[in-house]
């Protein structure tokens, strides 16, 4: 450890104070909490990777189906009547859900801003959960920047925001209960 004391930088000798040491029991307890958070984060990342994998597979299948259908067309005759061809999946079908999902997400963002101002402290284990949810929302946002029309991503965003809102509301209820009992 590099310790170089310049008297002018430490005129009161604060660096001479002994380092404070926690009990080994407390160190282990701290590690148990941190390890749980690391493991929870790893589980969520794996789950997210599986969902992304399925999404990628679904997207590739769609591309292959469309490519096959276009290749198989006999010639440039009448356009395909999609109503009579339910086996053809198009990217336009779910579009009518997207505006609702986006509006819901925006509304939830406003709620979250208000809730964050009201909640000023949470137990450590809930902070872990909060950080994880925010991380997942961040990952969904990153995916949305590449696929802004993906309804599934918007739905996932709304679902995560709802979890975060519940987290804050539950904490507020706990705080209200605590104040009421004083």
């Amino acid at each position: 450890m590099n310790v170089s004391i310049n008297p002018t930088e430490d005129p009161l000798g604060l660096r001479q104070l002994n380092a404070l040491e926690p009990d080994e029991e407390d160190v282990q307890r701290d590690w148990n909490v941190v390890r749980s958070a690391i493991e929870a984060s790893a589980v969520r990342r794996r789950r997210n990777a599986v969902v992304s994998g399925f999404r990628l597979a679904a997207g590739l299948t769609l591309v292959l189906v469309l490519a096959f259908r276009f290749d198989a067309r006999p010639g440039p005759e009448a356009p395909v009547d999609l109503a009579s061809r339910p086996d053809i999946v198009t990217a336009n079908e779910p579009a009518d859900q997207r505006p609702d999902l986006i509006a819901m997400s925006q509304g939830m963002e406003r709620q979250l801003r208000m809730l964050r101002k009201q909640v000023d402290h949470m137990p450590t284990e809930l902070v872990v959960y909060q950080v994880e949810l925010q991380d997942l929302i961040g990952q969904v946002d990153e995916a949305l920047s590449l696929e802004p029309d993906a309804d599934e991503l918007w739905a996932q965003r709304v679902s995560l925001q709802l979890d975060l809102i519940k987290l804050y509301r539950n904490q507020l209820r706990r705080d209200m209960g605590l104040y009421a009992s004083l």
Binding site: M1, N2, V3, S4, I5, E9, D10, P11, L12, G13, L14, R15, Q16, L17, A19, L20, E21, P22, D26, V27, R29, D30, W31, V33, V34, R35, A37, I38, E39, S41, A42, R45, D120, H121, T124, V127, V128, V131, D135
Partner: protein, 190 residues
């Protein structure tokens, strides 16, 4: 920056493994830096339970954000900044009624003096500072941060850092110098 308890070398392999989520590597980092983290958190927050909360949250954040550590500065400096940010954030969440501002409450000081005996040592004097003064003087005189860096942590100007440092040092000096002569702080202040 010198004189910091965080100044511990960390090998690149352990860091790389931790970035990939290797729990063993994370534990190695945790055990290497825990003492320094808790000690700083304790000095700044002056409460063992709060220091443990700050330490836990700091490590959780550090491991969650490890991918953002680019390696263009020593890891220990980055880790230390995470701990200090969490300590400051925790101090700011503490209701004002539980934070003692000693330039407003000399009677509290007198009680503290009586409990300590004839002298107020540096530990007690540091504990008696306001949280902002304590954080600034610790960051500057012990951890070696400059005023620009301290101002950035607080989201304020360099002038804030310099003023707080000057004030904190003056108070510490006063409390430590007067106490051994008179035995009672209230005699020296009147």
């Amino acid at each position: 920056m010198t004189g910091s308890a965080f100044d511990i070398e960390l090998d690149d392999l352990t860091l790389a493994r931790a970035k990939r989520g290797d729990v063993g590597a994370c534990e190695h980092i945790f055990r290497a830096f825990h003492s320094a983290a808790w000690s700083v958190a304790m000095r700044l927050c002056q409460c063992p339970d709060t220091a443990h909360e700050v330490t836990q949250e700091a490590f959780i954040t550090a491991f969650a954000r490890l991918s953002q550590f680019r390696g263009d500065a020593p890891f220990w400096g980055w880790m230390r900044r995470v701990v200090i940010n969490h300590a400051l954030s925790t101090l700011r969440r503490t209701p004002r009624s539980t934070v003692i501002e000693l330039d407003e409450q000399h009677t509290w000081m007198e009680g503290q003096q009586e409990r300590m005996g004839d002298s107020m040592d540096l530990n007690a004097a540091l504990a008696a500072l306001s949280s902002d003064d304590r954080v600034v003087v610790w960051m500057h005189d012990v951890e070696g941060y400059n005023h620009t860096e301290i101002a950035a942590v607080f989201g304020k100007t360099e002038s804030f850092s310099k003023t707080r440092l000057s004030r904190a040092r003056a108070k510490l000096r006063e409390w430590m110098e007067k106490a051994p002569q008179s035995g009672r702080l209230n005699e020296a202040t009147h």
